[in-house]
Symmetry: D2
Amino acid sequence: MAAPFSWPIRVYWEDTDAGGIVFYANYLKFFERARTEWLRSMGIGQAHLGERTGGMFVVSETAVRYLRPARLDDELRVTAELTEAGRVAMTLRQQALQHAGGELLAEGTIRIGWVDAATLRPARIPPVILQTLNTR
Amino acid sequence: MAAPFSWPIRVYWEDTDAGGIVFYANYLKFFERARTEWLRSMGIGQAHLGERTGGMFVVSETAVRYLRPARLDDELRVTAELTEAGRVAMTLRQQALQHAGGELLAEGTIRIGWVDAATLRPARIPPVILQTLNTR
Amino acid sequence: MAAPFSWPIRVYWEDTDAGGIVFYANYLKFFERARTEWLRSMGIGQAHLGERTGGMFVVSETAVRYLRPARLDDELRVTAELTEAGRVAMTLRQQALQHAGGELLAEGTIRIGWVDAATLRPARIPPVILQTLNTR
Amino acid sequence: MAAPFSWPIRVYWEDTDAGGIVFYANYLKFFERARTEWLRSMGIGQAHLGERTGGMFVVSETAVRYLRPARLDDELRVTAELTEAGRVAMTLRQQALQHAGGELLAEGTIRIGWVDAATLRPARIPPVILQTLNTR
């Protein structure tokens, strides 16, 4: 089985809180950066796609477990792995790990729908995306 | 049954993204503001408590569903309701609603543990907090 | 002379960094919340105005000095004072102070222009805003 | 003259606001990432240094001009250039540019002091840092 897509992320001051560790809400940002780069690695650019189709991805559900803290200057590796792709939504499994030792820091399940950018109503994921996802 | 604790939150530019709506990760911030004020309403100040006990709350699990978008200038009402309080963790149910119409925007379950601030190892929630929570 | 407009802001975990203090970039957010409420206090709602005029405010210059640190749970008072209002830009002087003791934490000068929301090109500030500002 | 240190930064959803562009406060984050990597490129790791010396950098002044908007998916190049290094503070000039066309998006002057991490009182920058900075 192929290893899931993985993206390096460095922890900066902006990511930490007064507990001395990465603020938990920021793992959602890290997951999104990795998802964005995973899409880009398949030729899917969200800004470009938005202009062309008038739609955009919208996160509809997140479930995250925070297992170990990360700290300033840590180098993380964040994965993105498609677990389900339907006509109106896709689901990914994502993990944040220490790059050096591989310790699992946080892991989550993210469900993403497609909406019309003007009305924000749910819509079908453009075929070009579904085809790309399904041929992977 | 008593209504859950509720805290008003206004949507500013900082909370939005290029989709024109509140960035989903920011609901975790909104939920935390409401939890913090819920604790404060019971006399529990986290900064003070940290100094006195050497410990702090750490979020260990979040599960959030995003149902409707919120936009710049919207006034939200964010609730915090304790569903479980054990010796090492507590769980809350939280909702973000439109203040005016009451539409549900996002809802989540947040699990929070207590750790020693220096070692970040799990520890028992200080009795003063548990007592306060259980007498509510 | 009248006291400048002032808005209370509480420091939450999200505002702090691993130094144990408010992350300096976040004062720009605090200043903006106070500016937004200052405009709202004069009947100017930015979301509504954007829909009606097709334009929006864009910050073009910020100069901030950070004098004393703020910490988790601190209650701040953030001011907004118009120092100049021209046809294409306005300038404000803003301060963040400890609510209790009044110590000055940060102060800045913020210059804000008006742009067409679609083209992002500079445009004249709508007369309704200038009139409101100048009759204050 | 050597080109200043430069670091690539990609614009993600988290960086944008409802105006469709990068939220201006986030340029301070971009500048800090580039400064952190500039320090790291000279062998100065801030987390490690904090543990060893008990001190940390604190930003004391920022002056930024925002010239052109950046958007989702844009790839920026952010520079860091030391303009002054004294015993208690250093000053940098930083720019954010479009990677492709080189258009200048924002530029700023950032003044950074050194403080004792426990007391937050100003202190002398550790000699190891000053030596490293001055031999560049």
